[in-house]
Structure formats: structure tokens, C-alpha cells
Symmetry: C2
Subunit: 344 residues, 2 copies
């Protein structure tokens, strides 16, 4: 049994024989209850998801954001949060709690309980319960139809660029960026895009309002891009039993990211397709619909009937492999999160 997706497939297959059948398969679990509840659970672990030395408030922000992004992808709004925190005795617990509690409040959620234990490194898990406004539908991965246009909620690859900079020793410091000696030839015109990239990685912005708008439409599928556009597109297509065609010429890249990629000797398009952690929504929409401009969405292709996922470049198409993170096959690395794979 290799990899996260095949393990989850196995568990679902096992559960589908049971009554009620498996609730696994979307960004959150929709509970079969009278009230419309959805539950998400996501971890942030030192060394795997964030670097040692990341400020506790930033860890709290990111932990909440990645869970909120899952709720956004379900069309839900946050209601109750539960935290499992393991940390060393000298961890700044109050700073962490204050940041998490304030973040919950800002999104209308209540930090309602959890579990504390001692560990040598900081390990965090958040469970988030979300509600769906009664007039809306759930957003599911399974609702893409051939002919739909395929959209993303913002630029891609920026978080992966930020991670590469963090791996090279860059750090947020106040409102600016501190660069390590390994970056001492860093071009000054790239400082601003570099700061934006590191911020994007450390402080992602979940698209809850876009999720709400999508939930008000009559159809279309959604997933959040946490593991990579290519990988998450494969997941969406698999649930919807469709294929997709992505147009390489319109993939949205943030200003200055190509130049940053060149400096870092990383292929910008690979970062877009495989980078992950941008926490924007990937969704399908009937061709007569378009999300309001202020959401900053980009049409990147279309859903097709054929069970193939392809990347089109001019007149040429090639298969788009499910590039991206696999949370089980990534070795954790003391030098930083996901280090082994970003370079792949």
C-alpha cells in the first residue's frame, strides 16, 4: 500500500460495505444529521509542515487557515474549533492560544476544547466544525460535469516559491524579510515578490467568501489546492468521474514569480502544477457562469468526458501526472518542511 490516496481508497472501499456508507472523500465530512454540519481535521507539525523557530502565532494562523480552507472548499462557515497541542515545556502556550482564539473569533468560530500534551517538538492538530447556510448546497468534489469551465481562485506556485526561500534561510521579520548568507547575491528588485511568496506560504488566506458564492450556484465541484494543482485536479476528476484539459498558457503566476523561480533555479510551471499549499479553490462552473471579478479567479481549462487529464500547450497535449505532495511518502527533514520534495 503506497501513498496517502491509495490508503484512503482502501479505507473507503472497506467502509462502503457498511451502513451508513463511508463519509470520507471530500475536504470535510458532511455529517448525516438534522443540522447541516461538516467537519475538517488538519495538522501542522514542526519539521513536516513548518520550520523549527516559526513564531507560535504564525503556527496558529497557518493551522487555522488550512482548516478554514477545507471549509471554504465545502461551502461552509466555521463554527467550533478543537485543538490538540503537543509542545515542549518552554513553548509560548499563551501566545499560541491567543493567536488561535483571536483567529477563531475573527471568523465567527469558538475555540471549544482540545487536548494538551508534552512533546519535544511542536505538534498541532485542529478539528473544525462548520455550518452550511440553509439556502446553499454543499460543495463537493463529485459535481464536475463535462463542458464545465475549470477555475482557480488565485495565482499558483507562490507558496512553493516561498517555501524554497524559507529553505534557503529567508525568514519573515516584522513586516520585512531577513535573508540568510546563502542569499547574499539576492537581487533587490526581487525582494518584494520574495516577501509576498514567503507570506503566502506562512500566512495563507482561506477563500471562505468564494466558497459561499460557489455554494449559492446550482452546480459545480470544488476542492482546495493544498497538495498541488495537478494532484488535487486528479482527485476532483476521480470523484466526478470526468477528465480535464488544462491550458498551460493561462496558468496564473504572481508578479515576479517567474524571475524568482529563475533565481532559485526552479521551473516556474512545475511550481504552479506541483507546488501546493497555495490554499486557493479549484472549481468547475457551468460555462455561462463566471465568479465576480473581485475574487480574482482565473479560468484555466475545461472538464471533459474522456477520462484523461491533459496539459495543452498550443496544439500539443500531454498527460498531466498527479504531481504534488503525498503526506505519507514525504520524509520529514530536520532542515525544514517537505524539503526532499520541493526540489524534485
Amino acid at each position: 500500500m503506497q501513498g496517502e490516496d491509495s490508503l484512503i481508497d482502501w479505507l473507503r472501499a472497506r467502509q462502503l460495505k457498511q451502513q451508513p456508507p463511508s463519509l470520507i472523500g471530500d475536504d470535510g465530512a458532511i455529517l448525516p444529521t438534522a443540522e447541516p454540519w461538516v467537519v475538517t481535521m488538519d495538522s501542522q507539525r514542526e519539521g513536516s509542515h513548518f520550520f523549527p523557530g516559526t513564531p507560535p502565532a504564525a503556527v496558529a494562523h497557518r493551522l487555522l487557515a488550512v482548516n478554514l480552507s477545507d471549509l471554504a472548499a465545502m461551502g461552509a462557515l466555521p463554527a467550533f474549533a478543537f485543538l490538540a497541542l503537543s509542545a515542549p515545556a518552554d513553548f509560548a502556550f499563551q501566545t499560541f492560544f491567543t493567536a488561535l482564539d483571536e483567529g477563531c473569533q475573527a471568523h465567527g468560530a469558538i475555540l471549544a476544547g482540545g487536548d494538551l500534551s508534552h512533546a519535544e517538538t511542536c505538534q498541532t492538530v485542529l478539528t473544525l466544525l462548520g455550518r452550511k447556510p440553509a439556502s446553499q448546497r454543499w460543495l463537493r468534489r463529485a459535481d464536475a460535469r463535462p463542458g464545465d469551465r475549470l477555475w482557480v481562485g488565485g495565482t499558483l506556485g507562490q507558496a512553493a516559491t516561498g517555501l524554497a526561500l524559507l529553505q534557503a534561510g529567508a525568514r519573515l521579520e516584522g513586516n520585512g524579510l531577513s535573508l540568510s548568507s546563502s542569499l547574499d547575491d539576492f537581487p533587490s528588485q526581487l525582494i518584494e515578490p520574495a516577501l509576498a511568496a514567503v507570506r503566502r506560504h506562512q500566512l495563507p488566506t482561506p477563500q471562505l467568501q468564494l466558497g459561499q458564492w460557489l455554494g449559492q450556484q446550482t452546480d459545480g465541484a470544488a476542492i482546495d489546492i493544498s497538495d498541488g494543482l495537478a494532484k488535487d485536479l486528479h482527485r476532483l476528476c476521480k470523484e466526478s468521474q470526468v477528465g480535464a484539459e488544462v491550458d498551460a498558457s493561462v496558468l496564473p503566476i504572481a508578479t515576479g514569480q517567474r524571475a524568482l523561480g529563475k533565481y532559485l533555479e526552479r521551473d516556474a510551471e512545475h511550481m504552479v502544477l506541483a507546488g501546493g499549499e497555495d490554499y486557493v479553490l479549484l472549481f468547475s462552473l457551468s460555462p455561462d457562469l463566471e465568479p465576480p471579478a473581485h475574487f480574482g479567479c482565473h479560468a484555466i481549462g475545461k472538464i471533459v468526458d474522456a477520462p484523461t487529464i491533459t496539459l495543452r500547450r498550443g496544439d500539443h497535449s500531454k498527460a498531466l501526472e498527479p504531481l504534488g505532495w503525498d503526506h505519507l511518502s514525504q520524509p520529514s527533514d530536520a532542515s525544514g518542511p517537505r524539503a526532499a520534495s520541493v526540489a524534485k
Copy 2:
């Protein structure tokens, strides 16, 4: 800020200024929703809560049991479970999932989602959502009244004895016990109580039915004994703003545990008061009520008006300190869970 309880006090005080006020303070969080929901979250971490080499199915059993015990203490029944699992690539994921999924089914719960990541040791967190039958009340820590009798749902100190044996190298093997060389003078008449003690530690039995019965009574408080009778009694009394008097002569000890304690050079009464992890309910009940005999409960004292918690031995009383585990001040120890404290 020292210790788990004072940290949680600080967070509650912070939240009590908010609207709605804090939901923290019981074994689970009662959600202010139309349906009666309660949520618990508990971790089992290799090296902190269980020994390296513990079979994955046993970890799954214990993880579920400690969460079920929290639901029992709330008078709730399990409904939905969410798992966060971090483990090495060669971990027996399917064995673990199968055991957890079967355990959930056996208790009427659905394993509905979660999160997977890679780690060098096995780290597990379970979130459990429970429902309360509509005709029952919630069990709370705050409902003890002076004059109530104080009860426990079973014998105490047995899990701590089991832990001491595990620390000395004993292991469950099939239906029996394998002893390490450090136990080669182990008296044969203690084998049976030793097996029972190790089983009690590794495979605790949550008291869901007792919790249901208590929820059907009109008053009385409850908490589950996870961190030690003395510590958990302090928590119950604090929430109820009462004191308690425990009668040392009636503290229930399992057959053979005194002899085992003597062999292990541990004070049996200290194990009863401070050992923890027995996962029986500690509850108060109006003096005209008695739980049905088949639950195996023991009256151990009474709730008093004075804000003191005392241990009475014949005509003498002394203050009972909140002995037991503090999850933040326990250093984890490669030689086994909670090792530093059991010997204290």
C-alpha cells in the same frame, strides 16, 4: 504559567469575557446547537502515552477508549470519529485503521475523516462527536452538591500497576504475559493479577452504560479518572464549588494488586490516589440513590460544603493533594510513557 490546569484556567478566563462564553471545562464540549452534541479530543503519542512497539491495533483500541471514556463522563453516546495519524512509512496503517474502524462500529460510531502525515514515531489524535439521548441530561463536573455520596465506577490503581510492569519490561503476548529478565524472580501467584493490570492499562474499558444510567438520574456530577483520583476529584470539586471527604478504608483495589504493589515496591494507596488511567467514572449521587450492582461501583466518601478535599483514615483526616498526571509537566521519556512520574 505552570501546568495544564492553570493554562486552561487562563484560557477560560480569557474566553469568559467573550460572547458566547467559554465552552471549556468538562470532559467534552457541549455545543450550543439545536441538536445535543458533545465533542471530545484526546491524543495517544508514542513515548508519552504508549511504549514504542505497542501493536497498532492496541494503540487504536486505547485511542478510541480514552475518548469514549470522556463521552461516558458526559452521559453521551458516540456518533462520529475523526483521526489525525502521523507515523513512519512502515507503520501498519491498515491494521490500525481496521482496529479503529471496527471499534467505532462496535460502539455505533462512524470513522468519518481525518488527516494523515509522516512522522518518525506514531502520533495519534482522535476527535469524537457524541449525542445525548433527548430524555437525558448532560453529565457535568459542576453538579455535585454537599451531602451527595461520592462514587467510583470500579477499582483504582490497577492501570498504574500495569504501567509499572510495562516499564519493567512486561508485555502482552497473545492471551498471556511475557516477562523480561528484570522480572525473572516474578512470583507465579502474581501472574494473573499482573496480566489483569497490564490489560487494564493497555485496553481500558470505557463506562458508557454507567454514563447513560447517570444521565437518567436527576442530579449528580461526573468526570472520568484519567489523570488520578485525587487530581480529577479536585477538578470536579472546583467546578462544583464544593469540597469532599474520601474514606481511605474503602478505596477499591483489585484482587492481588496490594501484593503486586509490594513486589514492585510501590505504595498501593498512592497508586490508587495518583495512578490515573483507570478510565472509570468518578461521580456524585444523592444519598438516596445507588447505581445498579452490575456496574461494580464503590462509594468512597461524600461531598461536603467546606472547600477542602480530605482523606479520612479512622478518626484522622488530612488534606488530599491533587496528586496525578500533569500533561504539560511530564517529560516524555524514551524508556516509556510517563516514566518519570510513576516512581514519584
